[in-house]
Symmetry: C2
DNA sequence: GTTATATTTTAGAACCATTCTAATCTTATT
DNA sequence: AATAAGATTAGAATGGTTCTAAAATATAAC
């Protein structure tokens, strides 16, 4: 048996891709499975690329970048850059914040309701607020 | 007259450098003057480098980077990276936050008291919070 | 199913911000 | 002045990301 025709994870991922208007290619399916199979995660392009290698998924680094950006554009991922020199892609796209561990570079989600922002200024010049990010840097 | 021996801005800057234990070299003095002469600002390495060129200050790009990092290490500047691919150096080192204009890449300070954070979670695993950054992204 | 059309993948080159190297020059100290 | 420590420099190197243009694949139309 070379292929599983369907698996629960596979179908879900396939449907998610179709639903967002992205062609479910072999590469996108495989990468999406890696990203969305288990709970939420923060992945860099390089990390995902290596993970794919480990799983014997043949995919180029360019395709990993393309897929991550396509997924982000369709709202399946959210891009985060904290230190210059590498962004992370977060599978949790709902409103939330982050701990950033300065020593290790590790990111950890903070549920939105754990940070209460009482007052927020209006955007200057009638601009619209598109997102509010709270990053708590910890030296851990 | 080739050099002004002293000027108010010069003396202040020279004192600031000495006070922080940095040798006040020609290059550091010139760059510090550009940075601190007027009110607070956000400068990238490239921007500062070009500004130096415009002012006929001969300084290499490596020195601009060195100076910016040295100033940051001594607490004269604060480094901010929002999108991967370039950091800014903020002359305002006191606690405050930022508007980020997604279209232009422009940064604008938000005084700390304009954002009230009512509840903040403890850092996990007994780590210490080193900084809290609030970035309000606006599409302007 | 086949064909036509649009989209995707790919290897490798190119790019850009940043850091490194190791030689030269400056500053501060004696 | 001589010395030692620190700073500057041009250019090479690095690392993450994007580009290019050709080959492969997915969908739509027949």
């Amino acid at each position: 048996m070379r292929h599983k025709k369907t698996s629960v994870g596979n179908v879900t991922v396939l449907e998610r891709l179709r639903a967002s208007g992205l062609r479910p290619t072999r590469q996108r399916l495989a990468l999406a499975k890696l990203l969305f199979a288990r709970g939420h995660r923060h992945a860099s392009a390089e990390q995902l690329f290596n993970e794919a290698k480990t799983h014997r998924i043949e995919v180029s680094l360019a395709t990993v970048y393309n897929a991550l950006h396509d997924f982000t554009a369709k709202g399946l991922l959210r891009e985060i850059s904290i230190d210059s020199g590498g962004s992370y892609f977060d599978t949790n796209t709902s409103y939330h914040h982050h701990f950033y561990f300065e020593r290790s570079g590790h990111l950890e989600d903070i549920a939105a309701d754990r940070i209460a922002i009482a007052a927020l200024p209006d955007a200057p010049g009638g601009a619209e607020i598109s997102r509010v990010d709270v990053i708590i840097r910890v030296n851990g």
